[in-house]
C-alpha cells in the first residue's frame, strides 16, 4: 500500500465535489486528504486528492474519476515530480517556561505565530507531509490544544501543467 497524489481538474459547478467524493466512497476507495479551489480559470476548479492503495486500485480510481462528465482531467503527481504542501493551523499549549522553546521550534520550521494567549501559541505552518509530521512530533510534548489541516495541495514541477483535455486511453 502506497500513498498517491491525484490532481483532478473539474468544472466549477455546484455538486461536482460530491460527485467525486461519492465515487470514492461507493467504490470503497479511501481518501487521506482532499483540497479544492478555483484555478486561474474561474470555470474550472482543481481538486488535490491523496489516496492510499496499491497500483491497480489507484489506476482504477483515476479511470473511474475520469469518466465523470464534470471531470476535465486526472493526473497522478509523483512525490519527486511535484511540489506538495499543506497549510496547518495548530494551537500549542504553553507555559511561561515553555513558550520560548515553542517559539524557537516555530522559527526552525518557519511557522508563523498568528495568535498568542497566556496558555497557547497559535501557529501557521506550511510544508509537505514529512515536514508537518516532524513538527507535530516535536510539538506534541508541549500539548496540542487544536489542530486544523487543509489537506495536501500539489502541482507539477517545471513548466508542464495539467491541461484541459481528457486522454483517449
Amino acid at each position: 500500500m502506497e500513498r498517491y497524489t491525484l490532481g483532478i481538474l473539474v468544472n466549477n459547478h455546484p455538486g461536482v465535489l460530491s460527485r467525486v467524493v461519492g465515487l470514492f466512497s461507493r467504490r470503497g476507495y479511501n481518501i487521506d486528504s482532499l483540497s479544492v479551489g478555483e484555478t486561474e480559470n474561474p470555470d474550472i476548479s482543481r481538486i488535490t486528492c491523496v489516496v492510499t492503495g496499491d497500483r491497480q486500485i489507484v489506476e482504477q480510481i483515476e479511470k473511474q474519476v475520469a469518466k465523470l462528465v464534470d471531470v476535465i482531467n486526472v493526473m497522478e503527481l509523483s512525490i519527486q515530480g511535484s511540489i506538495q504542501c499543506e497549510l496547518v493551523l495548530v494551537k500549542v499549549c504553553t507555559t511561561p517556561t515553555t513558550r520560548a522553546a515553542v517559539v524557537e521550534l516555530s522559527e526552525i520550521f518557519k511557522a508563523k505565530i498568528v495568535d498568542v494567549t497566556e496558555s497557547t501559541l497559535s501557529l501557521q505552518l506550511t510544508g509537505n507531509l514529512d515536514k508537518i509530521a516532524s513538527f507535530l512530533h516535536l510539538a506534541r510534548p508541549y500539548g496540542i490544544a487544536e489542530l486544523v489541516r487543509t489537506g495536501i495541495t500539489a502541482m507539477q514541477r517545471g513548466s508542464q501543467a495539467i491541461v484541459n483535455g481528457k486522454d483517449a486511453d
Binding site: G15, R19, L23, K63, K67, L68, V69, D169
Partner: protein, 557 residues
C-alpha cells in the same frame, strides 16, 4: 421563438427524434404534461400504472430499438419510483433519459411537499444527472443529456426540472441533432497489431462475448471474426443473441449457470479474447482460477473496465463494432485452429446439457417457444430460474433481441421492459418469460397492457415458489425454505381477465407448442400460466466462490 420551459422540453425531444415516451403525471410536471397534450400528434405518451413500469419500459424500448428511451415522472415519490429502473439501465449500459419534476426553485431545500433530492439520490446510478435552475440552460442541457446517454459506453441520464423552470419563458432556438458515430481514429493501430500477433501465436483461442456486442450492433462483424480466426465463443448472460445459438462455434454461457463446455474451454484456452464484457462475478466466480492458462485480451469502449476485476495481458479501447471491423480487415489470411475446434466438439459431445426431471419441463416450454416464434422475436425476462432457463434453452438469434436485467438482477423488470420493446418494435413479436415471483412484483402493468392493447405474450413459469432462492436453500441451506414458498394460489387467468387481458393455462401435461402458438395467434395481450414442477432446478451450477470448471450437475433420472 419564446416558449416556456415545458415547451422547450417537448421541442428538444422532437429535435432528438423522440416520438414515444413513458411516464406518469403529477403536480410538479403539470406544465410539461400540458405541453405534451398540445403536441400529441408528435409525441406519444404512454401512461403506465407505476413510474417503475415506465422506467423499465423506457429501458426495454432502448434495448429493443437501439434508440434512447425516455421516461417522465413527477417530483418526490414519482422520482424515487424511477430509481430501480435507472439502476437497472445503468448496470446494463442502456441509453435512457429521465425527466423528473421538482418543486419550484424557491422551495428547494425546505422539505417541501413532494420534494426529494433526486440528483443526489441517482448520482451513483446515472452516467450523469442535472438539476436545471435556469430556463436558459434547459435546451442545451437536454441536448447534452441525449449525447451523454448514447456516447461511448451508454447509460441513463436524469434531468430534474423545478416547476418554476418549466413555467419560465425563454427564447428557444431550434438545433439540428448532433449525429455522431464511433471513431475509427481513436483505436490505436499498435493495439490492433499486437492483438493480431497474439491471435496468430495462440493455438487455443477462446472468445468471451458480452452485451457490448449487442449495444454496438456488432453481430455481423462478430460472426465474420469468429470464422476468420477459427475460434469457439462463449457468452455472458448479456451476450446471448450475439450469434445464433446453433452456431457450431457457440459454446453457450460462461460462469455460474454456463455450460460445462464453455467453462472448461475458458480454463483451458491459451488466449481469452474478451469482447464487450466486464468479468462480472457471475461469470468469473473465483478470480484466481479464471482462465488461468490464458493470456487475456480485452476489447472495450470503457477504459475503466480494463484491469477492474481481472488483470489483462493486453487491451484495445474502442467501440466493439469498430474494433472488430478493423480486425476483420487487417487479418488477411484466415487463421486455423482445427485441433482446438475438434477438442471443443469432443467436449460438446461429452458434456451435453443433461435432460432430467429437474430441467425437462422448462426446457420443453422454451424450446417450444423457439419453434413457434420467428427469429426476429424479442424475448424479455424477469429475474430468477426462468431467466436462466430462457438464456440456456431459448434459441437466441442476432435477428432477435434478448432483454434481461443482467447486472442489477431486477425482479419485476420484464413486464415494463416488454411493453417498451413492443412500442419500439410494433412489427416484432414480444414475449415476456416471467416467473410467478417476479411477475407479481409489477403485474399492475397489466392495466397499461390492456389500455393500449399491447399484443404481448406473458409466460408465467409458475412453480409457486421463489425458485432461484429456493434452489440455493436446497443446495446450501439444508432445505430450510425461509419465506420462499408462494402458497397463496393466485388464479392468473382470472387476474388477466379482470384487467381485460386473455388468460390461458398450460398444465404440465399439455403440449407447450400447441398452447403457445395459440397464445401467439391471438395477436392480443395474453397471460399464459405455465405450471412447472416445484423443485425444478437450474443446472449446471458453479457454487459461489468455486472455480467455474467445478460444476454441480443435475442427477440423471
Amino acid at each position: 421563438m419564446k416558449l416556456n420551459g415545458a415547451g422547450i422540453i417537448v421541442e428538444c425531444l422532437k429535435e432528438q427524434g423522440v416520438d414515444t415516451i413513458f411516464g406518469f403525471p403529477g403536480g410538479a410536471v403539470l406544465n410539461t404534461y400540458d405541453a405534451l397534450y398540445k403536441n400529441k400528434e408528435f409525441i406519444r405518451h404512454i401512461l403506465t400504472a407505476h413510474e417503475q413500469g415506465a422506467s423499465h419500459a423506457a429501458d426495454g424500448y432502448a434495448r429493443a430499438t437501439g434508440k434512447v428511451g425516455v421516461v417522465f415522472a413527477t417530483s418526490g415519490p414519482g422520482a424515487t419510483n424511477l430509481v430501480t429502473g435507472l439502476a437497472t439501465a445503468y448496470m446494463d449500459s442502456i441509453p435512457v433519459v429521465a425527466f423528473t419534476g421538482n418543486v419550484s426553485t424557491t422551495l428547494l431545500g425546505r422539505d417541501s411537499f413532494q420534494e426529494v433530492d433526486i440528483t443526489g439520490i441517482t448520482m451513483p446510478i446515472t452516467k450523469h444527472n442535472y438539476i436545471v435552475k435556469d430556463v436558459d440552460r434547459l435546451a442545451d442541457t437536454i441536448r447534452e443529456a441525449f449525447h451523454i446517454a448514447q456516447e461511448g459506453r451508454p447509460g441513463p441520464v436524469l434531468i430534474d426540472v423545478p416547476k418554476d423552470v418549466s413555467a419560465a419563458m425563454a427564447e428557444y432556438v431550434p438545433m439540428e441533432r448532433k449525429s455522431f458515430s464511433p471513431s475509427f481514429e481513436a483505436v490505436k493501430p499498435s493495439a490492433i497489431e499486437k492483438t493480431i500477433r497474439l491471435l496468430k501465436e495462440s493455438t487455443r483461442p477462446m472468445l468471451y462475448v458480452g452485451g457490448g456486442v449487442i449495444r454496438s450492433s456488432a453481430q455481423k462483424e462478430l460472426a465474420e471474426f469468429i470464422e476468420k480466426i477459427d475460434t469457439p465463443m462463449g457468452v455472458s448472460l448479456m451476450g446471448n443473441g450475439a450469434v445464433y445459438s446453433d452456431n457450431p462455434r457457440f459454446t453457450g454461457m460462461i460462469g455460474m449457470h454456463g455450460t460445462r463446455v464453455s467453462n472448461i474451454a475458458v480454463n483451458n484456452c491459451d488466449l481469452l479474447l474478451v469482447v464487450g464484457a466486464r468479468f462480472s462475478d457471475r461469470v468469473v466466480s473465483k478470480a484466481s482460477a479464471f482462465a488461468r492458462k490464458a493470456k487475456v485480451i480485452q476489447i472495450d469502449v470503457d477504459p475503466a473496465e480494463i484491469n477492474k476485476n481481472i488483470s489483462t495481458f493486453h487491451h484495445v479501447i474502442g467501440d466493439v463494432k469498430v474494433v472488430l471491423s478493423i480486425l476483420n480487415s487487417k487479418i488477411s489470411e484466415p487463421l486455423e485452429h482445427s485441433a482446438w475446434m475438434e477438442q471443443i466438439a469432443l467436449w460438446k459431445r461429452e458434456y451435453p446439457m443433461k435432460i432430467s426431471g429437474e430441467t425437462r419441463r422448462p426446457r420443453e416450454i422454451l424450446q417450444a417457444l423457439s419453434q413457434v416464434l420467428p427469429p426476429s422475436a424479442v424475448i424479455v425476462t424477469e429475474v430468477g430460474q426462468h431467466q436462466m432457463w430462457a438464456a440456456q434453452f431459448y434459441n437466441h438469434s442476432p435477428e432477435g433481441r434478448f432483454l434481461t436485467s443482467g447486472g442489477l438482477g431486477t425482479m419485476g423488470y420484464g413486464t415494463g421492459a416488454a411493453m417498451g420493446a413492443q412500442f419500439g418494435c410494433p412489427d416484432r413479436r414480444v414475449v415476456n418469460v416471467a416467473g410467478d415471483g417476479s411477475f407479481r412484483m409489477n403485474c399492475n402493468e397489466l392495466a397499461t397492457i390492456a389500455r393500449y392493447r399491447i399484443p404481448l405474450v406473458i409466460l408465467v413459469m409458475n412453480n409457486h415458489t421463489l425458485g432461484m432462492v429456493r434452489q440455493w436453500q436446497t443446495l446450501f441451506y439444508e432445505q430450510r425454505y425461509s419465506e420462499t414458498t408462494l402458497d397463496t394460489d393466485i388464479n392468473w387467468v382470472k387476474l388477466a381477465d379482470a384487467y381485460g387481458v386473455h388468460g390461458m393455462y398450460l398444465s404440465t401435461e399439455d403440449d407447450p407448442a400447441a398452447v403457445l402458438s395459440a397464445a401467439i395467434a391471438l395477436n392480443a395481450p395474453v397471460v399464459v400460466d405455465c405450471e412447472i414442477p416445484l423443485d425444478n432446478m437450474v443446472y449446471p451450477m458453479v457454487a459461489p466462490g468455486a472455480s467455474i470448471d467445478d460444476m454441480i450437475e443435475e442427477t440423471n433420472d
